[in-house]
């Protein structure tokens, strides 16, 4: 990224996005106090949300839902329609941000080729989730007490039995844990109203409709790794790998990821052992090798469904070289319509020749904030390394403003140039001190022993 890119990215303003986010905030405030108790102002926010869809195909359904809810009839189908409206607004903000990003950095993006979501099939598991989410919305975050939080646990637990519902299970589990941690919610300050409304709406959409991934294709070619990011909450960890896929059809930006269940006490570099079943993928990440893929499934949103059987490690390829040379030529995928949300934006970029300010890189006088709070303790990349770096591979993200999430840096340490990647420890920490400490207090081994002894009695 050059200074002109950063300037174009940070300087773009969209009146439409500001307006959409105001409507979102208005609706989110109704979830804070509960849809059962709408005062005039909050009822107005629900009506305004519906008003934004007056001229769209969603319009009639959302208007009807708003009328019902403001009249005090908070039924599940009305909540689904309102969650859909909020999702569509944030989808529009997403599209606006992506258009800004593509124009600013000159990224080429393929048009969405998949299908849109369709109504879900009748499913008892999902109706349990919807019912729980509806109760949360009626009570409002301020009115949610521990019985109501735990009321969803059975539905969530049942979801885990279905592999294709794992995303929803993980989402609702994460929301429930935060509601518990925030208690008593009647006095929690400040309350993360947009975040919880995001999770609520996403949960509602996932339990009301199947977000069709579109027609998958089988791809063969070479996957060049750009970097690895780690995602986690108390009971899940996921390694998400960003890369460039080279096939006969050209170069594309893709992601792939692997996830495992965990406990809140498995933290830092301990998490890698939970992903030990993916030595081909994580080995290539740790050892900086390309991956040769044969017939692997690629979804139209740009996600490779990882399969160890369909991949082999290839020759050594430096991710910095990939970022420097391939990133400009790779075509980015479009997100599936139901998945469009600003939080989902994670565009790989390469930076060099920048200066440093507190929590930011400075490129030709333009400050790009760097998310130092997203350097996981599981990896070797530290804030100090980022602060002394000269090159960086990272993800452009947006949460109220644009920022960079570093995945790897090239830095000068004691006059020597070192490359440090979050994924360096993907096969276990390479720092002998960390590895030794890990072996001495192996949380995963202790808990597996306990599980072996107590779970199957």
């Amino acid at each position: 990224m050059l200074g002109t890119h950063v300037s174009a990215l940070l300087g773009a303003e969209s009146a439409g996005a500001v307006e959409a986010l105001e409507l979102v905030d208005g609706f989110d405030a109704t979830l804070v106090h509960g849809l059962a108790r709408l005062d005039a102002e909050r009822a107005g926010a629900v009506t305004a949300l519906a008003g934004a869809f007056a001229a769209s195909p969603l319009g009639e359904r959302v208007a009807e839902a708003a009328a019902k809810v403001t009249a005090g009839a908070v039924a599940e189908d009305a909540l689904i329609a309102l969650a859909g409206a909020r999702t569509a607004l944030l989808g529009a903000v997403h599209d606006d941000l992506i258009a800004t990003l593509d124009a600013a950095i000159g990224r080429e993006r393929a048009a969405w080729a998949g299908e849109n979501g369709k109504a879900g099939e009748a499913d008892n598991l999902l109706s349990g989730c919807r019912a729980w989410l509806a109760e949360l919305a009626i009570a409002g975050w301020r009115g949610v007490e521990s019985d109501l939080v735990s009321g969803g646990s059975q539905a969530v637990e049942a979801l885990y039995a279905k592999p294709d519902r794992r995303g929803l299970a993980v989402l609702l589990d994460g929301l429930a844990a935060e509601l518990t941690a925030g208690s008593p919610l009647s006095t929690m300050a400040p309350l993360p109203s947009r975040r919880w409304a995001d999770l609520w709406a996403r949960g509602m959409m996932l339990s009301a409709a199947d977000s069709l991934p579109g027609e998958p294709e089988e791809v063969s070619g070479r996957l060049l790794v750009l970097g690895l990011e780690l995602q986690e909450h108390a009971t899940v960890v996921r390694a998400q790998i960003h890369g460039v896929l080279e096939t006969a059809a050209g170069k594309r930006l893709v992601r792939t990821g692997v996830a495992a269940g965990k406990t809140d006490t498995i933290v830092g570099p301990q998490v890698w052992s939970l992903l030990a079943g993916f030595p081909v993928l994580l080995g290539a990440v740790a050892e900086k090798k390309a991956l040769e893929l044969t017939g692997m499934t690629l979804l139209p949103g740009g996600d490779l469904v990882w399969d160890e059987e369909k991949a082999k490690p290839g020759e050594a390829v430096d991710p910095f070289a990939t970022a420097r040379l391939q990133l400009g030529e790779a075509v980015a995928p479009s997100a599936a319509p139901l998945e469009r949300h600003p939080v989902r934006i994670a565009e790989p970029v390469f930076l060099q020749g920048y200066g440093h300010a507190a929590g930011a890189f400075v490129i030709d006088g333009h400050e790009l904030p760097v998310a130092l709070d997203r350097l996981p303790t599981a990896g070797p990349l530290t804030a100090a390394l980022v602060a002394s770096s000269t090159e960086c591979v990272g993800l452009l993200r947006w949460d109220g403003r644009w920022f960079l999430q570093p995945l790897a840096v090239r830095a000068t340490v004691k006059k020597a140039t070192v490359d440090v990647h979050i994924g360096d420890w993907a096969m276990g920490p390479t720092d002998p001190k960390v590895a030794k400490a890990l072996a001495k207090a192996d949380a995963v081994a202790v808990l597996r022993e306990r599980a072996g002894r107590l779970l199957r009695k």
Partner: protein, 169 residues
């Protein structure tokens, strides 16, 4: 530190849970602040197949300790807590930090100086009040069951809301 509203309120990735500090799990594999109690599971020092379910109630600071089969712990009496309850408190302080545990249990700690688990322990004067071990024990088993889940290769857009937290710079 209190996060700033409204930036916090309008953030999709606002952090709600404080980071959990790593601790050794051999002695106390499970600790939680839930149901109005600090509660958890303590491994028996002598019998690897036995665990104790220990708890301290918020507010009253009444404590309880029994085996997972609901047999009362001989060490916990009306005169004081047993080593299991003490270990539970110590490990909870490692995992969550002293002040969050004190706040949850509604224990007043001196503002000055650097109080530790010992001061927390001393400020509590509840009595033995046995609670059912089964609920906490089944929560522990549920907790362990996450390690038995099959790994997943599905894309999970949802996890964009849950970036791994680092040490705050």
């Amino acid at each position: 530190m209190q996060p700033e509203a409204p930036e916090y309120e309008q953030s999709s990735t606002a952090r709600v849970l404080p980071p959990v500090q790593p601790r050794k799990l051999a002695k106390v594999p499970f600790v939680e602040l839930a149901d109005g109690r600090l509660q958890g599971v303590v491994s028996s020092g002598s019998d690897i197949a036995r665990v104790y379910v220990s708890s301290v109630e918020a507010g009253s600071h009444d404590y309880s300790c029994s085996t997972n089969n609901n047999r009362p712990c001989g060490g916990a009496g009306s005169y004081g807590t047993c080593k299991h309850v003490d270990a539970l408190i110590t490990e909870a302080v490692v995992q969550y930090g002293l002040r969050p545990v004190a706040r949850y249990l509604r224990v007043e700690l001196p503002e000055e100086g650097e109080p530790g688990a010992w001061e927390l322990r001393r400020a509590m004067n509840g009595t033995l009040n046995r609670t059912e071990a089964a609920v906490v024990f089944s929560r522990f088993l549920h907790h362990l069951s996450y390690l038995e889940l099959p790994v997943s290769t599905s894309p999970m857009v949802e996890l964009n809301w849950f970036p791994a937290a680092g040490v705050t710079a």
